[in-house]
């Protein structure tokens, strides 16, 4: 355990002592001890400076949060209805799961994802999707999420689009039950947003991975899913 002397010294450095305590503390210190205290304070102020650097709240994140709050403000009367619908959906999901041959999981998918379902060319098998991407010239690594993944990620399937003669791959996931599509193009200039199938998408994230243009859209932050690609 830290000694009382250590804790008193720390409280002095942290500005936690009263005036009387400061006077008493300082009167009992030698010059050498003061120098050591000053060195420690200098060390810590640089340390704090380093910790505070490079971690600003992204404007787009703040904007997204504001939008979500504003959306709640605009529709206060629908909140109760939404809760009732959510409760109803949960009941239907449970009942469907109990029925022979019922597929409770599919009821959790949003209508947008259901719309994609019929066009899926390669179903959600990690190895098959990796192979298909390679066969189509998309030489990207796609790693399965580890057991320590923060979000529940499931691979839903893969389909291809033709966009002005350029082939675009769309890898469909669900993250915590929310659909997310990741569009991959070998052409950095093509406008991938033309393909966006999720009109109500909350999150859109665009960034290159290696030589590929990548656009992720969906009802959930795609950060962890994008980290699966390299």
């Amino acid at each position: 355990m830290a000694t009382d002397k250590d804790l008193l010294r720390q409280a002095y450095m942290d500005g936690e002592l009263s005036v009387e305590e400061i006077i008493r503390f300082e009167s009992e210190r030698s010059e050498e001890e003061f120098r050591a205290l000053q060195a420690e304070q200098a060390f810590e102020s640089v340390l704090i400076e380093k910790l505070e650097a490079d971690c600003a709240c992204p404007d787009e994140l703040w904007q997204d949060i504001q939008n979500r709050i504003a959306a709640s403000q605009r529709q206060p009367q629908t909140r109760r209805l939404v809760l009732w619908l959510a409760a109803l959906a949960a009941v239907v999901t449970i009942v469907a799961g109990l029925l022979p041959g019922g597929n409770a999981r599919s009821l959790l998918f949003h209508s947008e994802l259901a719309a994609v379902k019929d066009r899926i060319e390669v179903p959600g098998d990690w190895q098959k999707i990796r192979s298909s991407l390679t066969e189509h010239g998309f030489h990207l690594a796609l790693t399965e999420p580890g057991t320590d993944a923060y979000h529940k990620i499931e691979l839903y399937g893969l389909l291809y689009h033709d966009l002005a003669g350029e082939q675009v791959a769309e890898v469909c996931f669900t993250c915590c039950g929310e659909p997310i599509s990741v569009y991959l193009s070998k052409d950095q200039d093509v406008d991938l947003t033309q393909l966006v199938d999720f009109p109500a998408s909350t999150f859109r994230h665009s960034s290159p991975i290696d030589k590929y243009q990548v656009l992720a859209v969906g009802g959930h932050s795609p950060t962890e899913i994008l980290s699966l690609f390299s």
């Binding site: 060195a39 200098a42 709050i69 320590d148 962890e224």
Partner: protein
Amino acid sequence: MAKLTDDEFVALLDRYRAELFRYVARNVWNDSVIEDVFSSAVLAAYKQLDEFEAGTNFRAWMYRIVTNKCYVANREFKRMSIDIESVDESHFAVQPELERRMLDDPEWFLEACSDELHRAMRQLSTNERSCFLLLTIAKCSYKEIAGILEIPVGTVMTHLARGRKRMRRLLAEYAQAGGIIKNVKSGVKPACQRSA
């Protein structure tokens, strides 16, 4: 009990969002969840807005919610905080000579440690890190930290002392292993480190 309106909530949050985000960024173990943890904390606060009494300490209330979200995120990451009574502090002690060299030129030393600084921060226990970040980034007093973390002030002081020792120990080990301290001993700092 007076309540905040949604607009007042957003305005107050805008005032503190930079420091709250920094706190999350330095508190969670997994970089990929920083934005998620921050968003979920804000939206959780918004949902609980009825529980907040206007005119009381909004900042401390937000820090409590954000801290809980960080705890949950880190617990998900399968790392538990260390029991305060079960730690042998001799493991954290830095040799006096080594410490003197670290403190000799902190700007250069911490620049040389670079990313190791953030890794070291993440190796502190959850309580050590939260106490340290609330003190340094959030500029909270011991009493405020105790209120946010719902622990006694004496425990805050112990976590702070232990966290600081552990952090220095980790940085010292890195500096020794990476030859940073050795360069100081010979009196010659590499040019790239001197200019940093």
